[in-house]
């Protein structure tokens, strides 16, 4: 086919893609571009020229070894729900714009880590892009039938122009917005379209070769099975191949998550988490369809060409051989689609990383702060545009210098191994909050160095020197350092070998340095947020215990520089409304700091956003760190945990003491209430009697018989006396209990006092026929308040009279010397105090529930007052429990 015709076809095809991207960009909200199918098809950016052409090469030369690269993603798909959903959620909430941003944020907005990840991605992706260019260039040559011509001048090389066209496409749709976290709907729509094309064209050629050129798959199988090494091609040979397969599957498993273009389409361009549910079965299905015909095409090519042609291009060579150039063109366009989508998405992802994680944080920040807002947005876009062009041009030179020597498959695997170095810090960091930035940085560097030594260095040296001495003998001819057989492991393929050693040391470094070095407070906050992403929002709003000082106006100034006046005002208004803050709030809080950092992250990356916001915030670092440290250590540190426990023990003890005290107060209060209630009740009883009797006397004066009249009058008198006694007792008791009563102590003879007391009660006792006997007749002089002690005798004797049977009743009073006290007892032969009451007889208003006599005359305060008087004399009073009949009260008075 003519060169120019082909160029025209390419340009027309690109125009169609432009148009699709343009339409999608215009109808961003349409269902046509926002659905799980477009999402799944965009994931198929995984199938690049490597898949389209390279798989067949491997299938032809090594049999089914092309499969592991697709098995990894198939195994990974079900895990998307667990892993990818978490990543998507975190990325959306933080306006993450690249995998470098994601990893650097996880480790506390670490600027260096972001730059390192960017470099790793650059190293991993540039060869990969060059692979695509190589494929375009070689297929172009095949189809334009000037195979003999090899360009020597860049300006003469069609590949160069194709590369430039791709760069223009990526630039146009990739840099519409300065905020890189905005969705690139146009690019995604075109990628989805290309994914359909490449699959359809590949299936067409598969059907064509299998069923048109041959008689179906059985025919191909029968023909190929006659060649010599057929068995080797269709089976795994032993444990070594098993290891190779295992590492290849692991490698592709990692790649489906971490390749910058995969991260771009699966995470950053994801509109809804629920799309994942469709993607986890649709995407494996897509891969399956893509691989159905690979082996048959490879065998068909082998049957047709033997070993004389490049097996990678059988899909082109077979139809051309039969003169079907139209079919070949379709195949070419399918491959070209695979190339475009890969190159465009990869350069887009890389350019964002280069600008946000490399160039802006390491040089342009100061400039941005001084600049006008419109100019900043333009600057950022220009940095990205230049990045896209530079990346594609570097990839082109890489292709010119190296890739011609290597197969598509080999280049692809080198990329995979390099990208895989991000795996430990990415995956473990998602689920292990101890993973630290130091561990991540050292792990990635160590892993990358090993990859360079075991994979990149050997082929670079071989490419330049033309000898394979380095591979054969190792560095300085030390056997254990042979790059393809490190420490004697010589049974793995070079990529599997490099992957094994690099990832092993990467992982070990990551774990060891994470354990021995704890990150700073900021890092640990983010770690917590990433690991516990369900509570992410809550954690984010509360995690930053922030004691700095910042003004809303300053922060707004920074925002305006990057977002423009209108957008910044709108964003702040939204923020204030959301958190119900007044619109003229002056001082910024932690939430606003967070919010502003997120807003800027989309434009300039999280590390730069942090630095920028920090420039207007006076952060009181020390106190903040202290607070966070305290918070965290109380959680982690056993020692402080113990202290905390002790403290809380102390606290609970204190609080229980407080409770007890409170309880006591409540009891006291209740007692006081009860006392007042009882006093009221006791007062009401005689008043009721008086009132009722008086009423009857008044109303019934004429009819009432004389004896009854007299009885009522006697009752009134009785009740009045009772009232009087009650009032006196209450006043006495009150005085005694509050300690306001002072004793009138005199040196007197107790015997005389006892006689006085008995004389007072004699007439009452005599009425009942009760005898009172004073057994001791010796006089005994001591100090006491006679009036009060008389009161004691009155109370005790009247109590005794109350409970004695008439006539047979006997009350004995005795006293004897005890140990420095005089012991006085009052004993009766009445019915005695029930055992269960003995504890309570001295309580105020206690009247035995068992007293079954006519209502006694007591006020309920007698014994309580008695006890108070004795205690006031520093003596004691008790009821003798040993007495079998009657009651015996004993009290002591100190002699000195």
């Amino acid at each position: 086919m003519n060169n120019y015709v082909l160029i025209v076809i390419i340009v027309v095809y690109l125009a169609v893609l432009f148009y699709i991207a343009f339409l999608a960009e215009k109808k961003k909200k349409s269902k046509w571009v926002n659905n799980p199918y477009v999402y799944t098809l965009s994931l198929a950016v995984y199938c690049s020229a490597w898949t389209y052409y390279g798989s067949i090469g491997i299938a032809a030369n090594s049999g089914i070894d092309f499969l592991p690269i697709y098995l990894g993603p198939v195994i990974a798909a079900p895990l998307w729900i667990l892993v990818l959903r978490k990543v998507i959620r975190i990325s959306n909430q933080n306006k993450i714009s690249s995998i470098a941003d994601f990893i650097s944020l996880r480790y506390g907005n670490n600027r260096f880590l972001g730059a390192l990840v960017t470099l790793v991605c650059l190293f991993g992706t540039i060869p990969y892009i060059s692979l695509q260019l190589k494929a375009v260039s070689e297929t172009f040559e095949i189809i334009s039938d000037n195979t003999g011509y090899i360009s020597t001048n860049i300006l003469d090389d069609s590949t160069f122009y194709v590369a430039l066209l791709l760069a223009i496409f990526a630039t146009f749709f990739g840099t519409q917005n300065a905020d890189a976290s905005e969705k690139h709907t146009g690019i995604i729509a075109s990628v989805a379209f290309e994914s359909v094309l490449k699959l359809v064209f590949f299936l067409i050629i598969g059907v064509y070769i299998t069923f048109y050129l041959f008689d179906g798959s059985t025919d191909i199988y029968n023909q190929i099975s006659t060649i010599d090494n057929f068995k080797e091609l269709t089976s795994l040979s032993g444990l070594e191949d098993g290891f190779n397969w295992f590492f290849m599957i692991s490698l592709s498993f990692i790649a489906i998550f971490l390749l910058p273009r995969q991260f771009q389409v699966s995470v950053l361009e994801n509109n809804r988490e629920k799309y994942l549910k469709k993607a986890i079965w649709l995407f494996p299905l897509y891969l399956l369809l893509f691989n159905v015909f690979v082996i048959f095409i490879a065998w068909a090519g082998k049957i047709t060409f033997g070993d004389s042609a490049n097996a990678e291009y059988y899909t082109l060579l077979l139809p051309l051989e039969k003169g079907h150039s139209f079919l070949a063109t379709l195949v070419f366009l399918g491959g070209f689609s695979a190339v475009i989508s890969m190159v465009v998405v990869s350069t887009l992802a890389l350019s964002i990383m280069v600008s946000n994680n490399l160039i802006i944080p390491y040089g342009f920040l100061d400039k941005f702060i001084k600049n006008q807002p419109e100019r900043n947005a333009k600057y950022i876009k220009n940095i990205r545009r230049i990045s896209i062009f530079s990346i594609i041009i570097v990839a082109y030179f890489f292709y010119v210098s190296f890739s011609r020597e290597l197969s598509l498959y080999a280049i692809g695997l080198i990329s995979f191994v390099i990208i895989a170095q991000l795996a430990p810090s990415f995956f473990i960091g998602l689920f292990w909050n101890r993973g630290s930035s130091k561990g991540a940085v050292i792990g990635i560097i160590v892993g990358f160095c090993i990859t360079v030594y075991t994979l990149i260095l050997p082929f670079t040296i071989a490419a330049y020197t033309g000898t394979d001495d380095f591979i054969q003998y190792g560095l300085g001819r030390i056997t254990v350092l042979k790059p393809y057989a490190l420490f004697g492991i010589d049974f793995l393929s070079p990529p599997a070998h490099a992957f094994f050693w690099s990832i092993l040391f990467n992982l070990l470094s990551y774990l060891v340095f994470s354990i021995i070095s704890k990150g700073n407070y900021r890092e640990r906050n983010y770690a917590e947020m990433f690991v516990d992403s369900k509570n992410f929002k809550a954690l984010q709003d509360s995690a930053l215990v922030w004691k700095g000082e910042a003004y809303v106006a300053d922060i707004k100034n920074v925002l305006v520089r990057f977002l423009g006046e209108k957008e910044a005002t709108r964003a702040l208004k939204l923020f204030f409304t959301k958190y119900r803050l007044s619109l003229d709030t002056q001082l910024a809080d932690a939430r606003l700091i967070n919010f502003s950092e997120k807003l800027l992250t989309g434009s300039i990356g999280s590390a730069s956003a942090k630095i920028l916001i920090a420039s207007v915030v006076k952060e009181e670092e020390i106190s903040l760190v202290e607070v966070i440290r305290m918070l965290e250590e109380s959680k982690e540190n056993i020692v402080s945990n113990k202290i905390l426990l002790e403290k809380s023990d102390e606290l609970s003890q204190l609080s229980s003491k407080l409770k007890d005290a409170n309880q006591e107060l409540v009891v006291k209060d209740k007692q006081k209430d009860e006392f007042l209630d009882t006093v009221a009740h006791e007062l009401k009883t005689p008043i009721t009697g008086i009132r009722a009797a008086t009423e009857l006397l008044m109303d019934d004066e004429d009819d009432m018989p004389k004896e009854i009249k007299k009885q009522f009058l006697t009752n009134i008198l009785q009740d009045s006396d009772r009232l009087g006694r009650l009032i006196n007792n209450i006043l006495d008791f009150e005085k005694l209990e509050t300690g306001r009563l002072s004793l009138d102590m005199r040196y007197l003879d107790i015997q005389k006092t006892i006689k006085k007391g008995v004389a007072n009660m004699q007439h009452i006792a005599a009425k009942k026929g009760i005898t009172i006997l004073v057994k001791n007749v010796h006089c005994f002089k001591m100090n006491y308040d006679e009036d009060r002690i008389l009161q004691v005798f009155t109370n005790l004797i009247s109590n005794a009279i109350k409970f004695c049977e008439p006539v047979s009743g006997l009350i004995e009073i005795d006293y004897k010397l005890g140990n420095e006290v005089l012991e006085i007892s009052v004993r009766d032969n009445g019915k005695g105090i029930p055992a269960e009451d003995i504890e309570y007889v001295f309580d105020k208003f206690y009247q035995s529930q068992h007293q079954n006599t006519i209502k006694p005359e007591g006020s309920g305060l007698g014994l309580a007052i008695t006890k108070q008087i004795i205690e006031k004399h520093k003596g004691k009073i008790w009821a003798d429990k040993k007495i079998k009949t009657g009651t015996k009260f004993v009290f002591t008075l100190p002699i000195s």
């Binding site: 009740h681 008043i687 009697g689 009722a692 109303d699 009752n715 079954n852």
Partner: protein, 121 residues
């Protein structure tokens, strides 16, 4: 018709006034000094009405009321509390337990008599 009334109170002076007033109105009056006495009299005489104090030795007014209310043959007997306990919570408790009326000491004898007559009407 002649009503039978049981007055239950441990204060003899109060009982005496009530006994006089009700006898004068033609009631047949029984007297108990506490709950346990009251429960005996109630069973043998089936009074139409029981005038019940609350704070009494041995069996108090509440228990007495419960006993009366749970005795089948005393279904028709009305029970009226007459007590010095005048807190809202006390009154509520008394009525909840099933007292037909709750009267408070000190009282007007005339008022008590008319309240009882009203209850019986």
């Amino acid at each position: 018709m002649m009503y039978k009334i049981l007055i239950v109170d441990d204060e003899p002076n109060i009982v005496m006034s009530l006994e006089y007033a009700f006898k004068k109105k033609g009631f047949e009056v029984f007297i108990a000094r506490d709950g346990s006495e009251a429960l005996e009299i109630v069973k043998s005489h089936i009074p139409d009405i029981v005038l019940l104090d609350i704070m009494m030795p041995n069996v108090d007014g509440y228990q007495t009321l419960k006993q009366i209310k749970s005795t089948k043959k005393l279904e028709a007997t009305k029970v009226v509390f007459l007590t010095a306990k005048n807190k809202a919570s006390d009154i509520e408790k008394g009525l909840e337990l099933g007292a037909d009326k709750y009267l408070i000491k000190p009282f007007s004898v005339k008022k008590i008599v008319s309240e009882i007559l009203e209850l019986m009407a």
